[in-house]
């Protein structure tokens, strides 16, 4: 019932295939804000429960990055899924939902940090799980599992003794880190998605 109502009222949403029977739609990125407002005001979706950033891989071309939003209605008890793919892969952008749902704040910061999607209108878009100044977005599919060498924060702020941060040794195990001396070798990756359908 809700699925039909939402599809009727918001005609720019296109139904999306799912395996879990949830009301799911593809949303053009420039109308995401409008859709979120409508969900909150007209369909009693009080909560934005989750934002999942996705990278569909280099083969997806310009529409590579995007976010999958999950909304929940506490009064009517249903979930809605909206997927919005960014228009550009070089500079992925989406409108920020912080003005509609306060919980979007940290969720968008996380997507920015780990996937490198910029949210227009976010009051202070900063890294949240990785440290300020980290140069990569690790959840992108072209970022290797072993990691890439990156400068560590020298000292942490307010540390008057200026104790140097020393990286912990990461030798051994499947998650061998690529040190500068050994160089990065893709053979060390346990599994790689790009170019190998099926994952192996």
């Amino acid at each position: 019932m809700n699925r039909k109502n939402i599809a009727e009222e918001l005609s720019f949403l296109k139904p999306r295939a799912t395996s879990d029977g949830m009301a799911a739609f593809d949303c053009p990125p420039d109308r995401l804000l409008e859709a979120a407002r409508a969900l909150k005001e007209r369909f009693e979706c009080q909560t934005l429960t989750d934002i999942a950033s996705v990278d569909m891989g280099l083969s997806a071309g310009e529409g590579r990055f995007g976010c999958v939003y999950h909304f929940f209605s506490h009064t009517k008890k249903f979930y809605v899924r909206l997927a919005a793919m960014c228009r550009s892969a070089a500079e992925p952008r989406l409108p920020s939902l912080t003005g509609v749902y306060p919980s979007a704040d940290w969720l968008e910061r996380e997507a920015f940090d780990l996937m490198g999607i910029t949210f227009d209108g976010h009051p202070r878009l900063r890294r949240i799980l990785m440290w300020e100044g980290y140069p990569y977005h690790p959840l992108r599919k072209d970022f290797p599992l072993a990691g890439l060498p990156a400068p560590l924060p020298d000292t942490f702020e307010g540390n008057e003794d200026a104790t140097k941060v020393v990286p912990a040794p990461e030798e051994g195990g499947p998650f061998h880190s690529a040190s500068e001396s050994s160089g990065f070798s893709p053979q060390r990756e346990p599994r790689s998605w790009e170019g190998k359908p099926g994952g192996r």
Binding site: A17, T18, S19, D20, M22, Q46, T47, L48, T49, D50, A52, S53, V54, D55, V68, H70, H74, K77, Y79, R81, Y101, P102, S103, D105, W106, L107, E110, L114, P123, R124, R126, I128, L129, M130, W131, P138, L139, F143, L145, E157, G158, F175, E189, P190, R191, W193, G198, G199, R200
Partner: protein, 406 residues
């Protein structure tokens, strides 16, 4: 450090009429009152918190990246390390989400076993939450009483899974092993002694004048705010919103059990305490019903592409050996698709959003960590309170940094 480094602005009118000089106080990342490696940056005007900036990520292990490179069953031990106070709940939530994509319905015995294990985990997690909350409010005795009971649950987990905390009990389509003989009797014996012991904890602190003075009317979150900030679990129900995923979207056959969903009235720290206390009692109710109608039969679905064949067959038949080898190395065969599943965990709704491209390895796993969401609301909840109330509010929200940072 100065005030300009804060991520979020000060709420309007908070320090109105005050002439005090602002001071920045840094708590953590290693501090007993922050329950883990949470770092809190507070701006204080005298004793009044005017801005709060929680800083997370000290325990970030890139679990979502790791998940894309492991088979579904290999990732289950990683879910132990999310909310490490209730590992079985995380295992089950992950397995349920994968089973949703594959359209697998687990066996009735598996469902009942998962329910018992999850509800024991809930009691276990709430006991730690209540214990440290009590300690933050100045009651050391409650801490010891709660941990005595928790230790008994830990022994039960050890009998069930072989590990106290890193249980890795669920598997896609079933369980790592069936319930050991006599274990249900031990759970029953635990429940029988738990309720009187829990009443004792209740009498120790719930009507204690000092405790009430420290928690009543502190950290008030209205129902509207709780929904806006996407709080879930006891923190949401403490604010009077009766949303419990076990009731609204009954997974694991929760619809067959009789239990009540306690909700708060004022949404303050005291209400959150009462909600957690009552949830423990309701969990005992569910466990007793599950023991009573524990069905016989297999605990794993018999789908050779998903679950491992029984060990005695693997050692005797060539086909089963090959089958065992393929499922163990390539992972369970999960069809293409995407699913989102939230389980009502002790810390709130733990959600998994999984995209499968049809292999034994997920394409993308997004973990919706309830503790992350709870901490994101701190910038809104803490300002306006006194510094001395901050540990009490943090304790009442009951978060775990392993889950927040992933």
């Amino acid at each position: 450090m100065d005030s300009s480094e804060f991520t979020y602005p000060e709420p309007a009118g908070l320090a109105e009429g005050r002439i005090g000089e602002k001071m920045v106080l840094n708590i953590g990342p290693s501090h007993p009152a922050t329950h883990g490696v949470l770092r809190l940056k507070l701006e204080l005007d005298g004793e009044l918190v005017t801005r709060a900036d929680p800083m997370v990520g000290y325990l970030h292990r890139g679990q979502e990246k790791v998940a894309e490179n492991l088979t579904y069953n290999q990732f289950i031990p990683f879910t132990d390390r999310l909310d490490y106070l209730a590992p079985i709940c995380n295992n089950v939530a992950f397995a349920q989400c994968v089973e949703k994509i594959a359209g697998i319905e687990v066996t009735p015995r598996c469902k009942a076993a998962r329910v018992i294990a999850c509800e024991l985990s809930r009691i276990c997690s709430h006991l730690v939450g209540l214990a440290s909350y009590g300690m933050d409010a100045g009651s050391w005795t409650v801490f010891m009483y709660c941990f005595t009971q928790r230790e008994k649950i830990m022994t039960l987990f050890e009998q069930l899974t072989g590990a106290r905390m890193t249980s890795s009990y669920a598997r896609i389509g079933g369980l790592a092993r069936d319930i050991p003989e006599g274990w249900l009797g031990n759970v029953n014996a635990f429940c029988n002694q738990f309720l009187p012991a829990f009443d004792e904890i209740d009498k120790l602190i719930t009507r204690n004048r000092i405790f009430i003075d420290r928690t009543e009317g502190i950290g008030v979150i209205s129902a509207e705010e709780a929904m806006q900030w996407a709080l879930t679990g006891p923190n949401l129900r403490g604010s009077g919103v009766a949303t419990d995923i076990r009731k609204d979207f009954p997974y694991l056959g929760y619809a067959d059990y009789e239990f009540d969903v306690p909700i708060g009235v004022h949404g303050d720290c005291y209400d959150r305490w009462l909600v957690r206390m009552e949830e423990c009692r309701q969990s005992v109710r569910i466990i007793r019903q599950a023991i009573e109608k524990m069905p016989d039969g297999p605990c794993n679905v018999s789908n050779p592409r998903v679950t491992l064949p029984p060990k005695d067959k693997v050692l005797r038949n060539m086909e089963d050996l090959i089958n065992n080898f393929i499922v163990a190395t390539e992972g369970p065969a999960i069809p293409e698709g995407e699913a989102y599943f939230e389980a009502d965990n002790p810390k709130g709704a733990l959600g998994f959003y999984i995209i499968s491209k049809g292999a034994g390895v997920p394409y993308r796993v997004k973990i919706r960590a309830p503790s992350f969401i709870t901490l994101s609301a701190m910038q809104h909840i803490l300002p306006g309170h006194h510094m001395s109330d901050v540990p009490v509010i943090l304790g009442s929200m009951d978060f775990v940094l392993g889950e927040c940072d992933r």
